[in-house]
Structures are given as structure tokens and as C-alpha cells.
Symmetry: none
Subunit: 190 residues, 4 copies
């Protein structure tokens, strides 16, 4: 049955793509991505029909990885603040541990090469997360707004916090903490 498509190689391409896109944007040459993955230029196209296909699948893979990080260890029975805290910490820790992936995700998010369908699927994973905690927003500012909004508040504040953490690595913990306070106040204050 000849050589089977190697999951390993596919991952190497996605990993390389994340790095290269983080560094050079979505217009980075596929040749560079292939090189970074240690495969031939043509091989990339046996795993991804098109550059756009690669970018969209990278987007989904990153979203999925992040989602997995948020869910891991989620304290289902904790107090709402603790649960949000867990999500916040997971998000920020993942972002701090994977700066390239985070930057790539940002590039992809603003790119018009990510299809609406991908965006929908990519967001879908987080509906789970949103659902998990919807009830925790029964009070406070978020009362009357779609759960999307609360989630988006978290996301944008976490991104911003990560930016500061990256700029001043010595102050990481402080920013992580302050960011959460800001978020929690934003979302829960009466």
C-alpha cells in the first residue's frame, strides 16, 4: 500500500507554518514553510491541496489546541470566579508558552484567506466553553448581552495582556494577575 500519508509530516508542516506565518505573515512563501518542515516544496501540496487550505487548517488546528488547553483541568464544580480564572490562566499560559502559535493565530484571524466557514467551525469549539459558564453570567454587566460578548471581552483582554507579558517578561505574573482582575471586574461588576 505504498507509503502511507504520515501524520508526523502533516504536523511538521503545520508547525512550520505557524512559525513562518508568525514571523512573516500569511503571505509567507510556501517554500519557506516546506523547508521549515524538512520536506520538499511539492510535498506540502500532497498534504494540503492549496496554500489557502493549509492556512485554514492551521487556523483550525490552533483554535483546537487552544480550546483543548482551556478545557484541560476545568473545575466544573468550582465557583464561577474560579472557573473563569481557570480559563483565563489556561489561555494566558498557553499564549505565553506558544508565542509563535499565538502570533500566527492573530495573523490568520485578520486575514481574508480564512473562510467564513473556518471561522464558524473555529468558533464552534468555544461554544462549549461558553456554554459551560453561561450561567455564571446571570448577574453583572453581562446580564443582557450575548455570551459571545463576555467571551470576546476575555479574549481581547487576554490578548492584550499577553502582549504586555511578551514585552516585559520580568513582569509576567503581575500582568497576568492584573489582566484577570480587569477582566473579572469588567464582566462581573454590578
Amino acid at each position: 500500500m505504498a507509503r502511507p500519508l504520515s501524520e508526523e509530516k502533516r504536523d511538521a508542516i503545520l508547525t512550520s507554518a505557524a512559525e513562518v506565518v508568525a514571523a512573516q505573515g500569511v503571505s509567507a512563501p510556501t517554500a519557506g514553510i516546506a523547508k521549515g518542515a524538512g520536506v520538499a516544496e511539492g510535498t506540502l501540496f500532497t498534504y494540503f491541496t492549496t496554500k489557502d487550505a493549509l492556512l485554514n487548517q492551521l487556523y483550525l488546528a490552533l483554535k483546537d489546541e487552544l480550546r483543548a488547553a482551556l478545557v484541560r483541568g476545568y473545575p466544573s464544580r468550582g465557583a464561577p470566579r474560579d472557573r473563569w480564572r481557570h480559563v483565563w490562566d489556561s489561555y494566558v499560559d498557553w499564549g505565553a508558552a506558544n508565542p509563535a502559535k499565538r502570533k500566527a493565530m492573530r495573523q490568520l484571524t485578520v486575514s481574508d484567506r480564512i473562510s467564513p466557514r473556518s471561522r464558524e467551525i473555529g468558533g464552534r469549539g468555544f461554544d462549549e466553553v461558553a456554554a459551560l459558564m453561561e450561567e455564571s453570567l446571570a448577574s453583572g454587566v453581562m446580564k443582557t448581552l450575548p455570551p459571545d460578548f463576555g467571551q470576546a471581552v476575555m479574549e481581547s483582554l487576554a490578548e492584550m495582556t499577553l502582549e504586555f507579558m511578551a514585552r516585559e517578561p520580568g513582569e509576567r505574573e503581575r500582568y497576568k494577575q492584573a489582566g484577570f482582575e480587569a477582566f473579572w471586574n469588567a464582566v462581573s461588576a454590578p
Copy 2:
């Protein structure tokens, strides 16, 4: 290069660039920008030495326009909350009124073609704004954090709010209001 003959033409190119970059990203061809400005392909390069130069100057021009919008009508003697409110409203109104410019700014911000120097100069304008209100943060969460941070909280929440406003135009006022509440709580809660 001295002073180019026509300020008007320079502006036309910048305006076209904002539209085209908003629609197609920073990799949009200069030919399209020139066409949109009603000038010849080559003319663009008598006003901007390089595509990168154009993008950087567009970035600065947009930052400056936004800054001007924030300062206009600023109630220097008002209560802190009112002053922040003015900044918030100005930001969000400008963004809602100039969706292409905002989208272009977003594209430019994540692009690696904007030099660190441009980013610094672009931020500098806001130091004024920051300075104007530094004192207002003498209490609350922001107490012990750099004024940048408070500013960044505002910016990221405003951007996110604009996204929601664009998606559901019927709910504009509601999001604008809710966004400000979230921001104000984030930043001022004890």
C-alpha cells in the same frame, strides 16, 4: 524629493491605500492603490519612495487621525469618568464612521511591514492622551500598572466592541454602552 507638488494627490493615495488595504490586506498591489487614487502607477512612487514607506505613513496618518478625534472636544475639566467616556465615545464613533480606516489600521498593526520606529511614533501621540488622564487612575485596579496598560485595555475593548457593532448594526448603541461599562469597571473597580 523636496515637497511634492500636490498635497491633494498625496492624500488621494493615502485614502485609496486605506480602502484597498482594508479590503485586500497589506499585500494589495500598489497598482490597485494608484488606480483607486486616480493616479498612474509610477506616480505613487514620487510621493512614497517605497511600498513600505507608504504603508508606514498610512499607519501614522491613521493613528494621527484617530488621536485628533479623541482630543476634539475633550472635557479637560470634567470628572474622570466623563473624560474617559468622551475618549471611549470618540474612539468608537470614529471607528464606526470609518470602517475601512479601522480595518486598514488593524491590518497594518499586525503586519511586519510597520517598523518599530513607526509603532513608537504612532503610540507617542497617545501619550498625550495618556498623560491627560493619568491622574484619574490614581485609584482602582490600575493603581500600580503603567498607564499604557489602561490605555491598552480601552483600545482592545473598543476594537472588540466595534466588531460587534459592525456585525449587528441594529444594536450599535447597546454595545457601545455595554462596552464602556465593561471598560470602566475593568479599570476603576476597587
Copy 3:
């Protein structure tokens, strides 16, 4: 290479090649030919060392099939006109019955990928045919010309006739008849 295991598979590849070349020209991908033959991409190369080898062998196979059609039922003892008529009818009938093969042959004939050697061998088969009837040209226009020429007159008129037949299927018989008259006059008139 010895004798490849399956004559059947070799034929399937040649048949597929004829169809694909007819439809897409000699630049058709080998992958498509393999697929059409129901074999793997690589298998094609165990039967034909090279794409050029495949094309050349296809050319020869088609020439041979056509030659066989001309010889079948040849009335060795008939009057010259009847013999030519048999050849003409056989040629045209074969072409009408195998439009893809005929189109493929045409593509191959003008292609620079068919080697001079193949052309020579491909023509050789017809020397038999030519020889069979050489004597029939002892008079008429062809008197002083190489038998090739008479043969070529037939071939080119037959090809042209097939074109018209393909274009207007309702008039097939008429064209077939008129084509032969033209040929016969061309070749036999005093």
C-alpha cells in the same frame, strides 16, 4: 524489464492513454492516464520506462491497429479501383468507429515527442499496403511519383473527410463517397 506480467494491464494503459491524449493532448499528465487505466501512478512506469516511451508506443500501436484494419478483407484479386475502395472504406470506417484513437493519432503525429525512428517504423507497416497496390498506379498522375505520395494523398483526404463526417454525422455516407471520388480522381486521372 523482461516481459511484464500482465499484457492486459499494458493494454489498459495504452487504451487510457489514447483517450486522455485525444481529450487533452500529449501534455496530459501521466497520472490521469494511470487513473484511466485503473492502475497506480507508479505502475505506468513499470510498463513504460518514460512518458515519451509510452507516447511512442501508443503511436505505433495505433498505426498498427489501423494497418490491420486496412488489410482485413483486402481483395487481392479485385480491380485496382475496388482495392483502393476497400482501403479507403476501411480507413474511414476505422476512423469513424474510433474517434478518440484517431484524434490521439493526430495529436501524436504533430508532436515533437514522437521520434523519427517511431515515425519510420510507423510508416513501414504501410509499405506493405503500398506494395500491395503499387502496380495499380502504373498509369495516371501518380505514374512518376513515389508510392508514398499516393498513399499520402489518400491519408490526407481520408482525414479531412473524417473531419467532415464528425461534424455532420447525418451526412456521413455522402462525405465518405465524395471523399473517395475526389481521391480516386486525384490519383487515377490521366
Copy 4:
């Protein structure tokens, strides 16, 4: 008004294309065509939007040149045979004098990259020619067939004759003469 598009350069590209296509077929690289024309690779695309566009326009240019050759010196008032003779001689002389153009035309004719529209336009020129002599076919074999057919008989016999002339340059005149006899008999015999 900047540099105007140069008719000269366009012609150089078409001429180079004819040579390169004659030698290598329609799949010849555009780079080679550009090089042959003494222009940069990119320049080719300011004159022809697409390789297909170039091939189609080359086809039309060649058809037109041939048509012009046939019409030049046409003896409108001559006897039918003399008029056909003129057409035959013009065709064959043009083909013998421009072997590359002829070979290119042949390649283009069998290629599927020539659009039906181009074929129609390319044929259109010859309707003139056909019309010029339609009446001359009031008798003979062609009596009851479309004028296309007579024209096609001429074309295919002329092409074949050119082939023989190219193969044996010493016998040119003989083939030219014999070819015409064959054609004339084919078409006019009772």
C-alpha cells in the same frame, strides 16, 4: 504619455512564438518565447494577458497572413483553373517560404487551446476566398458538396505536398506541380 505599446515588440513576440511553437509545440514555455523576442519574461504579459491569448492571437495572425498571401495577385478574371492555380501556388509558396509559421499553424490547429471563437474568426477570412471561386465549382465532383469541402481538399493536399517538399527540397517543383494536378483532378473531374 509614457512609452506607448510598441507594435514592433508585439510583432517580435508573435514571430518568436511562431518559431518556438513550431519547434516545441504549444507547451513551449513563455520564457523561451520572450527570450526569442528579446524582451523580458514579464513584458510578454503586457502585450498578451495570458499564454492562451497569445496562442489564439498567433493563430489568427498566421491565418490572416496566409489569407493575404492567397489574395495577393488573385486573377479575378482568369479561367477557373488559373484562379485555383494561383491559390494553390500562393498557399504552397507561402508554406515553403515560412516553414516555421506553417508548422506552428499546424500545432495550433490541433491544439485545444485555440477557442472555437478563434477558429471561427480564423476561418472567416477564407470565406472570402471561398466565395471568390464558388462559381468555379459549378461542375465536377464538388457539384453537390459545400464549398468548405473543396477548400478543405485543397488545404489538406497542399499541406501534404508541403511535407514532401520539405523532405526532398530538390524535388520541390515537381511536388508542387503534381500536388496541383492531384487537387485539380480531385475537384474538377466529371
